[in-house]
Symmetry: C2
Subunit: 376 residues, 2 copies
């Protein structure tokens, strides 16, 4: 299913076959939390923006409109009108970051909905059943995401429990994939490496979950409080302990620079709300660096957001117009900026892949890794 066609040092250029189509790796997933990208972006727009994979959140969809409704409507693909691959988060991260009054037990997590306070229980089996109902291409294992820094006394037992939960996830998803009523019988399961910022825990956990021969492996619990250098260090030490022939996913990361550095450390998959969230506040990424569109200097600027960009927004609208839309509180402002930023991220991945194809990824990295994070 996953084939590496080229490497440059640790960086990998691959092809990932799924029942919903082929993904060129490395790639960036566009985040549609509640089955829509924030800022008014539809699945029709996503195709124009070169999105390969959309990511949706199990927790949000379970609460509203419920996975039962989505199952009844034929699964997430039909629900959103998106025929390419979808990855669903396990719900774990949202339970730990959004839900109220949560209690973690061996069986799973008891918590209250952040929408209406309703009591909910979610464990590995529940997460798999919900994701099976959603019928995503890739289901993520239910884990505990621990913030950094956390004491070793907390991280070690949490990490062990995450391992036990992973076994339960696999058993349950294997069972669900055989059921007649299941929409996507080829749903894949990815395990998630945890272990906080402790080298030995990370390595031990990576080795343990690798034994399970899952469809892919994520590195979780990063970009949750630790310095960037610590994140890169964890990637450096974990890399060799994850199976080479499986896609690797760095969860919730990051800036264009983080992504280039992640690829350099053997990562194939990324996701982050940053391009859409920043865009909604007027911050856009360009090939020259980062711009704040609210800046007074753009008031009558007739250039596009990025002269080097050929996205639908840069082909049609000016900095001055989009700045005006932000100042006037028009929703179109956010929409145009989000479209540009997602196109930028998806194009960044395209350029990374092309540089790998042409054996010049290290050169690309030198040219862009710092530049793209500079404010201009």
């Amino acid at each position: 299913m996953f084939k590496i066609i080229k490497t440059e040092n640790l960086a990998r250029r691959g092809i990932f076959e799924t029942v919903h189509g082929t993904i060129q790796t490395p790639f960036f997933m566009n985040v549609g939390t509640s089955a829509a990208i924030k800022g008014g972006i539809s699945s029709l727009d996503l195709k124009e923006l070169k999105c390969q994979v959309e990511l949706c959140n199990t927790y949000h969809l379970h609460i509203r409109p419920s996975d039962d409704v989505i199952y009844k409507m034929g699964g997430l693909h039909k629900f959103m009108n998106w025929d390419r691959p979808i990855l669903t988060d396990s719900g774990g991260f949202q339970v730990f970051s959004l839900a109220k009054l949560r209690k973690i037990k061996e069986e799973g997590v008891y918590f209250n909905s952040h929408v209406d306070g309703k009591k909910i229980f979610m464990g590995p089996e529940e997460s798999m059943r919900i994701q099976s109902n959603l019928a995503s291409t890739i289901a993520m294992a239910f884990d505990e995401c621990v913030e950094n820094p956390s004491p070793r006394e907390y991280v070690k037992p949490s990490c062990d429990r995450t391992t036990r939960w992973l076994y339960r996830c696999k058993a349950e998803l294997d069972r669900l994939n055989t059921l007649d009523k299941t929409i996507n019988k080829n749903q894949m399961l990815f395990g998630i490496n945890q272990g906080g910022t402790f080298d030995d825990l990370r390595i031990e956990h990576a080795k343990t979950i690798s034994e399970l021969d899952l469809s892919g492996y994520a590195i979780g619990g990063l970009a949750v409080g630790e310095p960037t250098e610590v994140m890169y260090h964890i990637l450096d030490i974990v890399e060799e302990h994850l199976p080479r022939n499986k896609p690797r996913y760095l969860m919730g990361v990051g800036t264009p620079s983080n992504i280039i550095e992640g690829v350099a450390r053997g990562i194939d998959m990324f996701d982050c709300v940053m391009p859409s969230r920043n865009a909604r506040h007027g911050t856009v990424f360009t090939w020259q660096g980062i711009r704040h569109l609210n800046n007074q200097k753009y008031i009558a600027d007739t250039s596009p957001i990025d002269e080097e960009c050929d996205c639908p927004v840069c082909r049609s609208f000016t900095r001055g117009y989009i700045r005006h839309l932000f100042k006037a509180g028009e929703q179109l402002a956010g929409r145009l900026a989000v479209m540009h930023n997602l196109y930028f991220y998806n194009t960044l991945m395209e350029k990374i892949r092309l540089s790998l194809d042409e054996n010049r990824f290290e050169q690309f990295r030198k040219e862009y890794s710092e530049k793209l994070s500079t404010l201009i």
Copy 2:
């Protein structure tokens, strides 16, 4: 410039030539108050939605980003990236409905900006200069829009002042159209009929402004408090006193039913925020009647908003999905509903034109005039 190619009783099917392209009449203008349609609709979307003419507001654009900025950027067409006709409101209606602490004098209106409270003066000449800077296709005369009902002692002198203001508008726009710096030297001026709900004042005023041989005539001061039947009555009595060979514009109206009834009374042009405003609250127009998408009955409904509609939204998304987006507070909800409603209004006009072409407008009117306003 305006040619009637067919009539059925008082209803007219025409062609209206402008420097920004030919308009098929009767038509509905899509309202982009601050140079954007609310709900995240861009000028690229508008073409897909069969919009012929966009309407923008002089008052809003004067205040933000200012007509000077838009002039500097090449006028409203370049600013919004819209190459078809644009009509600009005179600012009068907004001054009277939005601005604070206003004082009406013979020279014009003194008021405070609703954004930052800044003192502003706008009279006929200022309105023309702003609209000339915006370089719209059609400029509207600066008038006073009086709410209904208002006493005759107020309406009569107001109406006379609106006439004097119209003469000043014409003189100023004639002058502006000859200036070298002017972007659109063919900018057209429409006069606006006022007179409240008084038959004799309406008729007298219609006769007076008709003498000016303007590019078109609007009927203003309707749909501002009076019952629908009173509005239709005013249209009935004013119709014969407006020049036959000029387009007639019923300002700020209305429901699909109002539009059909307006066409039946000899109106060629309409505008209204209703389709976009209602859409943003989940209310959509269909060929069977009006739906509230927030209704619980649509929760798992896999039909499009309207099975008879071929708009980009109905071709791709279900009632259940859009209802979910409204409940989850996703901006995409409003965007999809607004797109559908604007497409519906523009298609309504297309169907009205076709029925006139085929001498069956009265039949169309009988079939749809009531039906389209029924809640289903």
